[in-house]
Symmetry: D2
């Protein structure tokens, strides 16, 4: 089968990353088109430079084109579900950025549309493709860790978003920790059954006024009996802190942060090393490529996608349960929020 | 003031450590006596070899001797409170191993006795004196960490105790995690106000039959707004895992495990390093000396002790709240268990 | 000024790397042409896929084309000098892989041709662009290290070349250590004045029969008074070992190897980490891009190149002096081999 | 056999360390006596406090006492040889600090005296007992490293000695690098056959005026074909830098410095770790105990000592050859300096 002909919908930060990766790093794929509802001349030039044939403001131009095999949905969250449904109807293979939607019924409708149309739907939980976290999972799968007992995830951003962003973000659990719920499920190899969320406003009072917390510690219980914990902070002054630890009956594996270089400076005062890579673009650079390779191969070889729409839904349930737990100050079964 | 003349009560594992440390490493102290209710010839020879003048089966021999300034209570937990009371009445300065007692009223009675007698009472939470954890606390005190926001403690034993031991231990929170509650309070610089405990039997079903869990993840809230988490496992196959992380508004500090040596072996298969020091005797070797130095100096210089009876009581409340939380599957205010 | 229009001469392993990097990662450059004297259909397809307009067996096709601004010489070593001379005559900007030639007079002739023609000539000592080693140099330049006193370089290959290759390679100093001489000069910020080479055949007796050594330890003296040492082995079973340490009056900096991931596995037996990245393609992946960016910018902005033809010549003198030292079992002044 | 009754000769810094270690940490040994030609009241009190029976200014008091089994010679270097001879005549087992003497004939006379008297003679090359370096040697002995090919030793002091001390020290090779020659021979498991020394005055011009260098890089050849290198600096601003690396046909082992604690501080500026332990008293604290345990056991169990007088002599030959090499600017065979 020839290269996968891909159209990207939405040319914001993440759309550009996917576009570049498809055009430059994935020989089995081709950037065939790009649309953005507010397409700028700069965006158009960029897409043309990468070889895109269709460049427009209408996502419909991609969906209507029979020479487009797949779409990558990178537009704003509120458009995701509708675009999935439209793309499914058009018979396109679908990769959609997270979250699918902030409303469970709309998520479900989107999943059903994809399933009914028989097209693949992969969700952009890119961290599963990270070189470090994937290595931990491999150790579990090859038995070195034994039965998973504890999963610990540290996930902290270098700087908080604006209160305005926070107000429409869906809150820390949907906006930020949803990645970590996905990682937790991935590493545990099991579904989250219960969460208990402790949260606080320690970084920026404005975030509190916007009705959210900026610091959270969430305890997880998994169906297989394992226990987990995720801590999030909206602001780690030393940069993006992304670590995972899995502890089991036969061993444990820990992933440290990636650094820009390995140099240590020894001075009269101290020994000084580099801070972690600053933010997600640098840290997950390779993971963004690998998730797109994975999607491309899943389509071309007709294999299951690595991160399904159901994963997206489960992560959302965990996030909703965490929100409920924080509000009601009690552990919440994920089943309580399933609708 | 001359050297502190110390009598050790109880010549088990921990009593021997304190006896050796006093006799060998603390010039300002002297091992003046040792008692054990089941004194063996071997124990007697050992104590005499260290210069002990009084060696008997009767702790009363130490309490009655005017040339004994202080006692180190290392006998079985059920005798601690009574011995504290008796030692206080005899006007001796007191160091008592943890826990003070499994009953809050008895703990309170012991504390009152010491206070009334005007003698010092230090409790054996030795980890505060650990070189790594102390360094973290120093970073907080000197401002490098800023306002403490998160405290994360990993504390895992290399092998589980026997179910028989578990049955009389008071449970994982009183027996094992109590050290971590103390560390959490020490690092947060604030009292624990609420706990939520998730626990499971993942290591040994017999521990479950004995009514306890062997794996636990406890979320903490502190009076100063910080959030904490402690994870305990009764069995880490790679050895004793003792790590602490404090995260704050200006930085974070992490303590890794101590290793027996720094060597890394590079082979065709992998790069291989040492496992952590096997168990608490190796890991906290220096901390045991330093806590005794601290006690000695507190007495000789009439300063407050570093770990008070009230610390012991607070740690116990946290442990009791954790037990209640586990049982009732809800977050529990520490105030709920205060009596 | 528009993008730099580049022709690559030689489509072997290194030619392909440069071609890919130019086409994919360097917006200011364009892969305009590619030639290889034994051009295969596969190579042609690859070059066309990257947008090359001229694809042929004749390097002359590139030199004759006025729309080619620069050439990247990646053909076999014995053709380098002649191609530099021809390209210089044609007025092309030149990047040439190392070594320039095995004969000093030919190297000099090539350098003169470039100088006379007023074209830039950069030599492919890519390691100067490595993220780790560059960071060390920056620390020296910003004063953190003070006066450089010691430079230590570890440079070991994962597997030895064939004895047949060794026989025509020019020997370990010209073939392998020449990179390290360049690194030493770069880090010391000073020329090598004297070398003493100890060598041995410890890896493969066939290498000895081919008249070479496979293990070498070379002491360096620099014009600024610093002392250096380089060790080379043709076979490190654990992979490519590339470390640099610079020690000075105010501090020291050390670069460790890069690893494929940061994960550590803790088992009952040991703590296991990853081996270094296997070989130079992985290890210096970014450095190959950055050296080409540097060349492109030097041409477009008419700045001096980062690694000059004179650097290539100096590295060669050091290598020749090392060979002479090994043979004559005495320290050799670099001036002794200058011709 | 009862505890080894030991007399220490010389109560300077190193004599005190040995005295304390014998009295406090070695149950099979006893500090029976101490002499110092300039015995102070403070020294006497210290020795008495450790249980010494004989405390005087006359080493002869120890040699004449039949209840003294062994002597530890810690007096000034110029007295070592005579004291060894006298102790040997008196039938005492002997541990002597390094160097034995600055004159080879005197060293030989001392060795002969010990041999003739049939007493053991261990020399104080304590670093062989270091936990890190010993671990590397074990890896070699158990085969993980294969045939040793390269031995690299970094050995730097935190601060230079006074020029006055330098003037009588015998020079950097005898005074400082002699420890590293011993380590090199220990790790290679083979004798040094040839050395080439590069040296410079980079730390303190006064050291140059005293006829010595303060920075040195010495290449070694071993009888088994391996190659080594040692670098010394009299001043590393970040503290005592003591590292060893052994590279072989099947693997390599590297020992990093020991640190006072494992904490890393993450700030907005950098990640900060501890500097190495400051100097040899801290760094080799355990090694000093272990070498004395080793000596005690060698005597009590009539086993060969771990570091012989011949080791002391070989280390001296290497140091003399290095001095000759530096002076004559050529590689020097160790056989050239044997007398």
């Amino acid at each position: 089968m020839g290269p996968l002909r891909i159209g990207v919908i939405g040319a914001g930060r993440i759309g550009k990353i996917h576009g570049e990766n498809i055009a430059r790093f994935i020989p089995q794929a081709r950037l065939e088109g790009l649309t953005d509802i507010k397409l700028t001349a700069e965006q158009e030039a960029w897409a043309r430079g990468l070889g895109a044939r269709i460049v427009s403001q209408e996502s419909g131009d991609l969906l209507a084109d029979p020479a487009i095999d797949a779409v990558i949905i990178c537009s704003s969250t509120d458009t995701h579900a509708d675009l999935i449904i439209a793309a499914a109807k058009a018979g396109k293979q679908i990769f959609c950025e997270k979250p699918i939607d902030l409303s469970v019924p709309k998520v479900k409708a989107a999943l059903e549309a994809a399933q009914k149309a028989g097209v693949k739907l992969q969700i952009g939980f890119n961290r599963r493709f990270d070189h470090n976290f994937r290595r931990i999972r491999e150790y579990t799968l090859t038995g070195e860790i034994g039965q998973v007992q504890l999963v610990k995830i540290t996930s902290r951003d270098p700087a908080p978003p604006s209160p305005a962003y926070v107000a429409v973000s869906g809150g820390i659990f949907i906006d930020m920790m949803i990645h970590d719920f996905d990682m937790a499920r991935f590493q545990a190899g099991s579904e989250i059954t219960e969460v208990y969320a402790a949260g606080a406003v320690l970084v920026d009072p404005e975030i509190g006024k916007a009705g959210d917390v900026d610091t959270a510690m969430v305890t997880l219980r998994f169906a297989n009996g394992a226990i987990g914990v995720i801590d999030n902070s909206r602001k780690a002054v030393y940069g993006y802190d992304q670590r995972v630890e899995v502890f089991g009956s036969r061993g444990a594996a820990q992933a440290e942060n990636d650094l820009p270089n390995t140099v240590k400076l020894y001075t009269e005062q101290a020994v000084i090393g580099e801070k972690p890579l600053y933010f997600f673009l640098e840290r997950y650079k390779g993971a963004f490529v690998d998730e797109m390779v994975s999607f491309t191969e899943a389509v071309l070889q007709n294999k299951p996608v690595a991160v399904t729409g159901e994963d997206g839904l489960e992560n959302m349930y965990a996030a909703l349960a965490a929100g409920k737990s924080l509000k009601e100050k009690r552990p919440v079964l994920v089943d309580e929020v399933r609708v």
